[in-house]
Amino acid sequence: MEKNTKSTEQKVGLAHLRGEQDDAAKREERLEERRDSLTARLRTGDRSAAAELVDMHYEQIYVYMRRLGHDRQVSEDLTQETFLQAWRHIGQLRDGKALNGWLYRIAGNVSRLYWRKRQGKEPTSVERVDVPESRGAEHDRVSRNEELARLKDAVARLPWKFRQAIVLHYMGHLTIAQAAEAAGVRQGTFKSRLNRALNILREQVV
């Protein structure tokens, strides 16, 4: 009797999991269709599509800039610049699948150009990283804050390409394939950059 109950629970659990996977697949399919249609409209010069592109992606680009080490004001300016560049280079956009990577590549170039113009100046990393108090005792909180601040500094001091790799994959949660496309390099190259970046971080943080 107990075995039967367990087996039924497992079946229900599996069915639920399959249902969730189907839903996720459908959501992804709908998103892809939306991107395809958006890309097609952008390529014909539709201004409402440009506005839709902003709504869909401005936060993602802003966060990307923040994680690359720019302060709030600069991140806003560079987000705007990214979209201006995107509109100027709409002819380079191939299809809906490429939309995300294309936008990240433009954002990456905008950020890199910014750093290059400020050659020699370190990324600003003055904002504190605060861990909420509810996480534990005051001592733990202070120590965790220090750890994260050290890590943030180490990420900010990485050479640009390595920093970009860390931000796209570990902080932006893109898959290797997506992140490599966003960086505009082959997957092998991207993996090698990631490894080197992790090695540097490990040395500096430890």
């Binding site: 390529r43 506005a51 401005y58 802003y62 709030r72 806003e76 150009l113 990283v129 994260l148 890590l151």
Partner: protein, 178 residues
């Protein structure tokens, strides 16, 4: 150790991102050009220069000479010139790296913004050009007949041909190099 590092990066990602200012999307949308034009040339000269890590002044000189030769070669304003101009204006923006002040600059900037609002594809060099140089191009935009309107350093609006505009830009670069 590696897992801990990845976990920390994950936590750092959550803590450092923050949220974008609510009005940011609207600010960006206000800057959508009235006419979205495809970049026909396909060659992004600026990115090529950057990727090749060529000295920017050397690269600029080569490109300006090439543009002048091309303009002579096609001897018409409505040729592949569009993409060449897209690149040349970005190039000038990129190369002229100094910031100057000036009370008249606000007026020029406001004129530029009103042009953009009207849907003109105006380009603003005011934050990079030398205001003391009367012939410096501060703002440029293309007219329907293929000519260009410019606001120069002496704050006059002038209509110039594509070739004249290239020469003015080349002059700006020359002065900058000196």
């Amino acid at each position: 150790m590696e897992e801990k590092l990845k976990e920390s990066l994950n936590e750092l990602a959550e803590r450092t991102a923050g949220q974008a200012r609510p009005g940011l999307a609207e600010d960006i949308k206000h800057r959508i050009p009235h006419k979205l034009v495809r970049h026909r040339g396909g060659l992004d000269t600026i990115n090529i220069i950057i990727d090749l890590r060529v000295n920017k002044l050397t690269a600029a000189a080569v490109i300006i000479i090439a543009m002048i030769l091309l303009a002579h070669f096609f001897s018409s304003r409505d040729t592949p010139g569009d993409s060449i101009f897209q690149d040349s204006k970005m190039l000038v923006q990129y190369i002229l790296g100094t910031r100057v002040g000036g009370s008249d600059l606000l007026a020029v900037r406001s004129r530029y913004e009103s042009l953009v609002e009207k849907g003109e594809q105006a380009v603003y060099y005011g934050d990079k050009a030398d205001l003391k140089d009367g012939s410096a191009v501060l703002v440029q935009w293309r007219l329907a007949d293929g000519q260009y309107k410019i606001i120069s350093g002496d704050l006059q609006e002038k209509t110039v041909s594509a070739e004249e505009l290239i020469k003015l830009q080349a002059e700006m670069l020359k002065k900058k190099i000196k």
